[in-house]
Symmetry: C2
Subunit: 709 residues, 2 copies
């Protein structure tokens, strides 16, 4: 036994493990993901005891540095966790005292600001332990460097380019670097759960009822807003050039890019208050639907603007080909991401339908989580946008898979994504507060900032009012002035604008945009968040509405959106014509997709032509046959007005062609109408508005509520 | 407007974003955390359009590389997700068909193996896009390199040392590198939820009943096992040296280190089967408690062996000072981590008690999650072991905080950690399967492997049988031979041994240990997992036991551990004497800690001396006064035998000194006895064994079950 020698060996082993003393400070979870990990990655070659001993002192120093760095990483993450904890406690206090002038996100930002100030001015500017070395290399930067240090080889990876002026900042305040995360973290870690939750908790009935308007606001509106803001900002930039306030380049496409990132509205504050006050559900659906979809539009728009790149790099003329290429890229990415999300949702629905996985809620929840996450990765692997795919995956999961899940999994998945969403959202907002002081490349330009505020105001106005006017031409239930004003007012910017802005802060223009975006987010979240309740009462928008009760038909003190109220039958024709596409989709969904993907809907044997009999029998779930009274009919919560029902019913009768299935279909449909919104209520109740629910043995039975139709 | 020029600018912007084309392949979530992130970090200085144009081609190539790399990252993560999905579906199939010869973890390993083989031999060995450059540097390796490439500066970070022989492997198969994660990921991401869940779902009643034995097995047993395995392996190593099978150094401390890492048992398979078959609860408690605590012991033991480093590096003599230093470090780290975990748990309990946070389950769950996570970071920041702290935090949270949570949060937190645990565990096991083929530094040494198998068998035997013998001297309820054999049989190794082994694979010795550990894990999981059911029946261990029913008193076909069966009163004296320390702790916990930290227990006004009156009134929750019949008495589920009760009751009477509180205390205690195990049942039922639960409005009312005592 040679314990001493072993110890010497051990000393080296330990030092070798401790070698990389510096962790990339841009990572979200430095201690968690990299931690002391890199020390291990090295395949240290033991090159004799003599050399070991001589370098022992040095290794000890390196090891100490590594431990110090790991400790600092832990501390910086702890800072964020304590921030969030503080936010949660204050939120509770606010909710407890029914304070509504400041939303939790606003609160998170304020705490972030305070901690940012402390970190910026309160901590000593330790100049880091970085030993930098200049080493000249020709040609281009390689991704991996092998460096020969007195016989040992070390591997280095490229972190990024540094502008010559910033060379010193590499050695800047350690703590500020530690709390500055990789921007893509927002895209790849924090946004997906937020967006998925948005899709998953969509109140489908009201969403689909206003689908046309929502799509118009989200697509047309965002494009209009982007274009108007871009052009206005180009004017502002020209002005800045004239008065000599612009110290670097700022191109037209930069302006358009700014228009795209700042067009993503995020009325999280408004919606939270709407939810709490039970404000008008259609207005809620419009705002929510628009904001969810325009996030997706803004992502794709901004990346297609970046891709807008004329073939020859030196042509200064407007290049039509490049423009159409951009449009093509937009459409390609959007539809690709959409398809990806929908396909994963459908696959999950099929898997959960055809296995009896619902006997094991834990497995089911895990599968659901993994499949939803794989959407993101699949889209990214195929070059599409993961966040957009995740949104549509969420919608599909809620529409189909949710119905196949066991009752326990339903609440589990809801709650899991609710917690993730809550944490991610509050993290982003507190990080925003922090970033105002800890981000080291701010470019404050008063003219640009004022110009941006004006531009987003005008852009929002040019988006809401004309579009509402045109929509009202086609809509039977007009969007009233008070709704339009509320939508105008609620155009606040949040997490998505921030994430898009921080994604690229390499150039001067982008830094200016980032600073401006941050200020716009602050301003809109605080002002609009605080002003929502007064605004609601000032605009006479009713609150305390039961989301499942349609507005009273003769209430004409203000105009409301009415979907399937008692007067639907009268105005049936108009609606049927204007919405024939959606109508077609509904009947297709109800007759074919739902029966294939879930345990509900009419049996396929009645809806498919007779020659598909075998296939239909295979695909239809036995439950549908077993229970003529629909057993799991909780999902048929999209709009079935009288017209719809007749259409669908007639359709299936004709298709089934007098077969014995005809009666089945009609019974099923009648039953379905009765319980049509029960699944949605279940969702809402799960989210805390619950009543009339009895659960036994960990399963919840939902008593269907009768609609008042 | 100069759209063309803008586009050119944009082209640069895009390329600048795309600069770092290589992502560290060792990260767990490359696309998520690093993703395309690094492209952004660079603060690219725009140095004129002419230079830009000339380098455009090159930049395009770099960008393509970056996109390709990002895509590959997504694909590699997708591989794992699909693996897990496949595992889940097969698990379902197995559960559905009641197959018990292969546990889910064994399954995950098999799938991992298959995918590993495919990746290893099925994918073309693309030699990467790494352009490596040797660049000589004196003195030592720096953490950050600044490289000057024709005027631009690039920042590089140190990734690790590479042994000269492995220089070529840097350019090896891309896919294999992508699926090889940073070992610390296992420690910092995957283990904490597993360990926390273990602590949080501890069946407290049976755990505390066997606490003494569990502590003995975990501490003494692990130390014995570590020492024996270490010494046996040193013999094996000597033998290998003799026959010339050892090509590099292997010190005595390396052997001890191997003993430490391989002593962490992980009977996850056995416990899953126990749970399913409702096998004897005391045996379950012994196995579970031992495995949870010996994970903690193994972590701390292995790091103190690493720290065992004599003062002078060249002394080969046994250094007593260094030995005691190691022991001191062991005790320091262990008690520090323990304190850290307990303190965070207590703080969480206080926060949830004194705020009315339980009105908002989402906030409560988020707070609970954050506080539990902060334990890990806090311990790491203070230089203790996060994983150990998280374990004790879990136990404290379950013992105190759980009682303050709203009913919804209870199930939420349970379910959240259950899902995290499930995913993490299956990920680790499928990664183990994968690692057998994708890990590129395996050292297979048949002698060492056979020696290790023999050593762990002997180590386990020397741990279980003598210790059980000594424990039986003190125990009133002996640990029967069948129990001892079952414990011997269940000594399988799992996630913790793997994580400890992969943490450091820098040296030849460590690589050999890693390979051997992997094989031991495979073997034990498959064989023991498959053999549990036959073994149970062969050893005559009863299954189908109601965990809350104590074994029938006159059942003498085999010996069982009896805690508070009807004969407890008779053997009262013996027990009271042998367990006076725990007894003291119980009464302290019940009289002081529970009333301070939760809403239950006797009012402090009755248990504290009268002069503490004011303090007692402040700390006691009003619920305790309001409800003389205990309202939230669901937590008093630790052992109160007849003796205990008398002791505690007498104690409080004496302390309250004839005051009016005396009656209160007795009532409270009587009530407490009646409902004593109801909280635990609630836990178990939440985990899927439920019955007799009615919930209304999302809250669950638990009907207390009467004990059969």
């Amino acid at each position: 036994m040679e314990p001493g020698g072993d110890a010497a060996r051990l000393g080296l082993g330990r030092a070798a493990r401790a070698l990389p003393p510096r962790l990339p400070p841009l990572l979200l979870l430095p201690p968690l993901l990299l931690g002391r990990g890199l020390r291990v990655a090295a395949a240290a070659s033991s090159s004799g005891a003599a050399a070991e001993d001589s370098s022992a002192m040095e290794e000890l120093a390196t090891e100490k540095e590594a431990e110090e760095s790991h400790r600092q990483d832990s501390v910086s993450l702890l800072t964020f966790i304590l921030l969030l904890t503080l936010t949660i406690l204050t939120i509770w206090l606010f909710k407890h005292r029914r304070v509504r002038f400041l939303h939790e996100t606003g609160l998170a930002m304020i705490y972030g600001l305070i901690v940012g100030v402390i970190l910026r001015y309160g901590t000593p500017a330790t100049s880091g332990h970085d030993k930098s070395l200049s080493c000249t290399q020709e040609d281009r930067a390689f991704s991996t460097l092998l460096v020969n240090v007195s016989g040992k080889f070390f591997e280095y990876t490229l972190k990024g380019e540094i502008s010559p002026g910033k060379l010193n900042s590499v050695e800047q305040n350690d703590m500020l670097r530690k709390v500055t995360f990789d921007p893509e973290v927002f895209f790849n870690i924090l946004l997906p759960p937020i967006i998925f939750h948005a899709g998953y908790s969509l109140k489908k009935r009201h969403f689909f009822r206003n689908l046309g308007s929502i799509l118009a606001y989200a697509f047309l509106g965002t494009a209009v807003s982007c274009f108007i803001i871009g052009n206005l900002m180009y004017g502002v930039v020209k002005l800045m050039k004239m008065v000599g306030q612009l110290s670097d380049k700022f191109y037209y496409t930069d302006c358009l890019f700014f228009g795209a990132i700042i067009s993503a509205t995020d009325p999280v504050t408004v919606l939270a208050i709407f939810n709490e006050l039970h404000a008008d559900v259609d207005l809620y659906a419009l705002l929510f639907g628009e904001s969810v979809l325009n996030d997706a539009v803004a992502i794709v728009l901004s990346s297609s603007i970046v891709a807008y790149q004329p073939a020859g790099l030196n042509t200064h003329a407007f290049d039509a080909a490049a423009f159409f290429k951009s449009v093509g890229i937009f459409l390609g990415i959007f539809s690709g991401s959409f398809t990806m999300g929908a396909v994963t949702g459908v696959v999950t629905a099929l898997v959960t339908k055809f296995t009896k996985l619902h006997c094991f809620p834990l497995l089911e929840t895990a599968l659901f989580f993994l499949m939803s996450w794989s959407t993101f990765l699949l889209a990214e692997a195929c070059g599409f946008t993961g966040v957009v795919a995740v949104l549509f995956c969420g919608i599909t999961q809620a529409h189909y898979t949710y119905n196949n899940l066991s009752v326990e999994s339903r609440s589990r998945t809801k709650q899991l994504f609710e917690v993730l969403h809550f944490l991610a959202e509050n993290f982003i907002f507190s990080y925003m507060g922090l970033a105002l002081f800890t981000f080291q490349k701010h470019v404050f330009s008063p003219i640009f900032i004022i110009g941006a505020f004006v531009a987003i105001f005008l852009g929002r106005a040019a988006h809401i009012y004309p579009l509402s006017f045109f929509l009202n031409l086609g809509r039977r239930h007009k969007i009233g002035w008070n709704f339009q004003h509320m939508m105008m007012f609620s155009g606040l910017r949040g997490a998505m604008a921030f994430a898009l802005a921080i994604r690229d802060t390499a150039s001067y223009a982008r830094q200016m945009m980032f600073t401006t975006t941050l200020l716009i987010v602050f301003f809109t979240v605080w002002i609009v968040g605080g002003g929502t309740t007064p605004m609601l009462s000032w605009l006479n928008i009713r609150v305390g509405v039961d989301p499942d009760q349609d507005p009273p038909p003769n209430n004409d003190s203000f105009q409301v959106l009415q979907g399937d109220g008692p007067d639907s039958a009268g105005g049936n024709r108009t609606k049927q014509e204007s919405a024939w596409l959606f109508r077609l989709w509904y009947s297709f969904d109800h007759n074919y997709l739902k029966p294939i993907l879930t345990h509900s809907g009419p049996p396929l044997t009645t809806t498919l032509p007779p020659w598909c009999g075998l296939l239909a029998r295979c695909l239809t779930s036995p439950q549908v046959y077993d229970n003529q009274e629909p057993l799991r009919e909780e999902d048929s919560d999209f709009i079935l007005t009288e017209g719809d029902l007749t259409l669908t019913y007639g359709d299936s009768t004709v298709t089934a062609n007098g077969s014995s299935g005809s009666h089945t279909a009609s019974v099923s449909l009648e039953g379905c109408r009765k319980t049509k919104s029960s699944s949605e209520e279940a969702l809402e109740r799960d989210l805390g508005m619950g009543d009339q629910k009895v659960s036994s043995r960990g399963t919840r039975l939902v008593f269907p509520l009768e609609d008042n139709a």
